[in-house]
Subunit: 212 residues, 2 copies
DNA sequence: TGCCCGACCAACCGGCCGGTCAGCAGCCAT
DNA sequence: ATGGCTGCTGACCGGCCGGTTGGTCGGGCA
């Protein structure tokens, strides 16, 4: 009866159809409106079940949020795995990573938004570490790749690899988060063309905006 | 008695001390926890007044949120005004803008977070346009600057000016939003040094990460 | 002095919140 | 048939929510 906050299910993935429906509903609503703005009734309605049934499968609202977050984070495998084995220059790998990263966010917008939202929420919050873990995986993999490029002379050695990594991720996350806003600026033509955006950004990062 | 949703005060700035205290409290709490997660009682407590008194000055919770947002957005003057008259190359001006931009966010974190939070919230929402307006001002001023640099040959002409602008803003906003997360990555050394971060980023953007 | 008006507040309202619980339909083993 | 087990539900709870109300207080003004 103690107020334990441990997570009920370890492998929560697909024990039964209603659970994954609940998780999908939670993911969708939490990512769109935020944790506090979504009621359990709303989630139940979206999942096509009853509120009590959610409490049959999850201990509390916070547990459900954690589970949805964990489920989303699990699905983010290291994007560099496929890229690494593709052969080619580090520059090329960087662009491929960026391409895969932005495409991944685009095809799983709810998951991505859920994680990003948690990332920039108040620290100290439970679940923050889950969001961070997925983020950290990509960050450190990218940094390693940059270091390799510096070692073999393909990239400048006088730059902080973490700063390069931050720039690549920043460009992608910015595009994903602010797409709706950017879309109706007349200066912006790339809002519906993530691939073109990544190409331009890669070109800028690799060769700079000053003429060579 | 009609359910009008117009804003009560046009110049809401400092009609009386308690109003600005309420606005400051709203700005702080909304930016930290989000609209739905903050109760009027909490704002009243933070502002050192009563909930009823807030409703004496603002029609509804949403009105208060709007007012706080408007107040924050008003204070964002075009950061390029001072930069423009500084003379110097376009490259230098770009770096100065970035420096001023990140410093502005750093010294008014609540305002910045409030606006950024609103920016990435569900479209259709009232108040989104307020957040967009401040964003748009900086975006289009920066784009103009980039165009000027392209015209006088200082910057490459084959790059989309909006993409360059997006990259500059992305780098800064990413740094500001994710600072707490980045801080405890061992690869990251620039978390407490925004000036150094901007310098590195500017160098990358101007000259690229490939050796010349 | 008397009065008026805006700033302010304690107490309250209906309603929705997260969370609980007794019990029901179906199904399998006995 | 029957008793228990599982997956699930409608009805309900106390509490907090956004918002209202009736009224106090104090300074300008006649």
């Amino acid at each position: 009866m103690a107020k334990t906050v441990s997570v009920k299910k370890v492998a929560v993935k697909e024990c039964c159809p209603v659970v994954s429906r609940i998780l999908a509903a939670a993911e969708k609503l939490f990512s769109k409106h935020g944790f506090a703005a979504v009621s359990m009734s709303a989630i139940a309605k979206e999942a096509g079940t009853s509120k009590a049934n959610i409490y049959h499968h999850f201990r509390a609202k916070d547990d459900l949020h954690q589970a949805a977050l964990r489920f989303a984070a699990e699905s983010i495998k290291s994007l560099l795995e496929n890229v690494e084995e593709s052969g080619g220059t580090v520059s090329r790998k960087l662009e491929l990573f960026a391409q895969a990263h932005i495409e991944g966010m685009h095809s799983h917008p709810d998951m991505s938004r859920l994680i990003l939202r948690e990332l920039l929420t108040d620290s100290r919050k439970r679940g923050r570490e889950i969001a961070e873990s997925g983020f950290a995986r990509n960050f450190s993999a990218l940094t390693t790749l940059v270091r390799k490029g510096q070692k073999n002379g393909e990239l400048r050695k006088d730059l902080d690899p973490a700063a390069v990594t931050a720039l690549v991720l920043a460009a992608n996350i910015f595009f994903f988060q602010n797409n709706d806003v950017l879309r109706h600026y007349r200066e912006v033509t790339f809002a519906d063309d993530p691939e073109g955006y990544v190409k331009t950004v890669s070109e800028i990062l690799l060769n700079g905006i000053r003429p060579r």
